[in-house]
């Protein structure tokens, strides 16, 4: 019982997610600043390390304004639900050697389904605010999620096909340098699809500040906004961790296995995402749809064919 409490509240539960949010947010701001030839936060704490903690806790002290005419269930309960659903996938991921909260034979399926529900919840938040801009933002989230989900699904099933199992710990045990090379095209497709799911440039269409004010975040303030922000970062964690587990071999390191390498691999994906963010402008909704259905999904199907071909050659008996 106490072990369950520890796992749900400290690691990999609530406290871990909050620590990850504060730390990753600080890292994003300093890294973007260095790319922009700026300095970033530098006044609170050494190199501004307390800044994001202060910013996020300031949100908890502000008033959560509920506008007139909103649907009370959709507006106020959805952020909490979004946070819970975003934190659930971390229960299926093997963080360290021999440590996983729920060891199930369908871990991969659970991961993909839980990650895929998020955009629907965010659409409902946009639908529930009594605001034209939020509604437009919600529709954009749904359109983008449906297109990118397909490629995401196809790409994340390729390790399962290669190793003939959906159990995440088994996938990690059987991965090696050679399997990484075979799965490399799948990893690239997974990376592009994750840009679409997380609304990062060049696919940051639902959160287009310059076009539709703030999308579905427009009417939120105070504690509601804090919950949505933590949900966004929890989603980052779920998807990065999923990518590391499926393709990059989780905690396997150079000379010894440990959680440190897991963290470094997640940070590597974040660094590439950030640098891409500083170099590409946004594309429009129709261009994104065309790109996804005309190029990305067919290439994902071809990738599955390649993985099956490679399995028949080198991975018989796996």
């Amino acid at each position: 019982m106490s072990e369950l409490l520890f796992q749900s509240f400290i690691f990999p539960g609530l406290f871990y997610v909050l620590l990850w949010t504060v730390g990753l947010y600080w890292f994003f701001r300093k890294f973007m600043a260095a790319l922009h030839k700026r300095v970033g936060p530098s006044f609170n704490g050494k190199a501004g390390s307390y800044q994001t903690l202060f910013d996020l806790s300031k949100l908890l002290t502000k008033e959560s304004i509920t506008p007139d005419g909103v649907n009370p269930y959709l507006f106020s309960i959805m952020p909490l639900l979004a946070l819970i659903f975003a934190m659930l996938p971390s229960a299926f991921i093997p963080w360290m050697d021999g440590f996983v909260v729920v060891d199930s034979n369908y871990g991969l399926l659970a991961l993909v389904v839980l990650i895929g529900i998020e955009p629907f919840l965010l659409f409902l938040t946009g639908f529930g605010s009594n605001n034209k801009y939020s509604f437009l933002g919600g529709i954009r989230v749904l359109t983008q999620a449906i297109s990118m989900e397909t490629a995401f699904l196809l790409a994340s099933f390729s390790p399962a096909l290669l190793f003939s199992t959906m159990n995440l710990t088994a996938i990690v045990e059987q991965s090696s340098w050679f399997s990484f090379l075979v799965l490399l095209p799948g990893f690239i497709i997974y990376f592009i699809a994750l840009l679409g799911l997380l609304e990062q440039p060049p696919f940051n269409i639902p959160d287009a500040e310059q076009e539709i004010v703030y999308g579905f975040y427009t009417e939120y303030s105070g504690t509601n906004f804090f919950l949505l922000q933590v949900a966004m970062f929890a989603e980052f964690m779920a998807i990065f961790a999923g990518g590391t587990v499926l393709f990059l071999g989780a905690y396997k390191g150079l000379f010894f296995d440990s959680y440190f390498f897991f963290f470094m691999k997640m940070l590597g994906i974040a660094v590439v995402m950030m640098t891409l963010r500083a170099a590409t402008p946004r594309i429009t909704l129709t261009q994104m749809l065309r790109f996804s259905w005309q190029y990305l999904v067919p290439i994902a199907l071809v990738n599955i064919a390649w993985v099956l071909f490679a399995k028949s050659l080198w991975f018989i008996g796996a």
Binding site: L35, K37, P202, T275, L276, A279, T280
Partner: protein, 188 residues
């Protein structure tokens, strides 16, 4: 292919990580660039100001109010309302005092901070604090000058009076001794 183009540009953007940003100072305490012509907070010199009112007349936003002093001449000095002033520097250009102007913005303070309450905003001015000793010394000077002028005027009036009498009559002047004329009325 477009994806390769995007990747090439991403790598070039990443090169910016190697340059150090020039923002290395805390500008609350020292400015990055503070030239001698910088138009900052006004410094008014009440001793050299001649009270010509030119700065008030040229100010485009009427930010200058003249403070009255209890003297006869040169009795106004400028005070500036910093909430209204646009720091154009025309008042400094037009001030006729030499060798240094009486109202100067060049090289002035750049951190003009007022307090945060409403009452502080009402007092966001550049005031001229004139010590009582200066007022007293100026009043004394004026008094001395006035007395001197009066004496000089009296002396001049007396001289003019004497001159007039010397021109008017050729009679010998006995009145100098103050005694009556004993010779008068003796004829006969």
């Amino acid at each position: 292919m477009i994806i390769l183009d995007i990747l090439k540009r991403t790598l070039r953007v990443a090169k910016a990580l190697t340059t150090k940003s020039p923002a290395d100072r805390d500008v609350r305490f020292e400015a990055m660039h503070h030239p001698s012509r910088y138009r900052g907070e006004h410094r008014v010199d009440y001793e050299t100001c001649i009270g010509c009112d030119s700065c008030n007349k040229i100010c485009p936003t009427h930010a200058i109010t003249m403070k009255h002093l209890p003297f006869k001449k040169q009795n106004i000095v400028p005070e500036v309302n910093l909430s209204v002033c646009i720091f154009c520097g025309l008042c400094e250009d037009v001030c006729p005092t030499k060798p240094e102007k009486s109202i100067i913005l060049s090289g002035g303070r750049y951190d003009m901070l007022s307090g945060g309450w409403h009452e502080d905003q009402d007092d966001f001015w550049v005031h001229v604090d004139i010590p009582q000793s200066y007022i007293d010394s100026r009043l004394e000077e004026e008094e001395a000058a006035r007395v001197k002028k009066e004496l000089a005027a009296k002396k001049k009036a007396a001289e003019a009076e004497a001159k007039k009498r010397a021109e008017a009559g050729e009679e010998p002047k006995e009145a100098q001794t103050g005694l009556p004329d004993f010779n008068k009325g003796v004829e006969g």
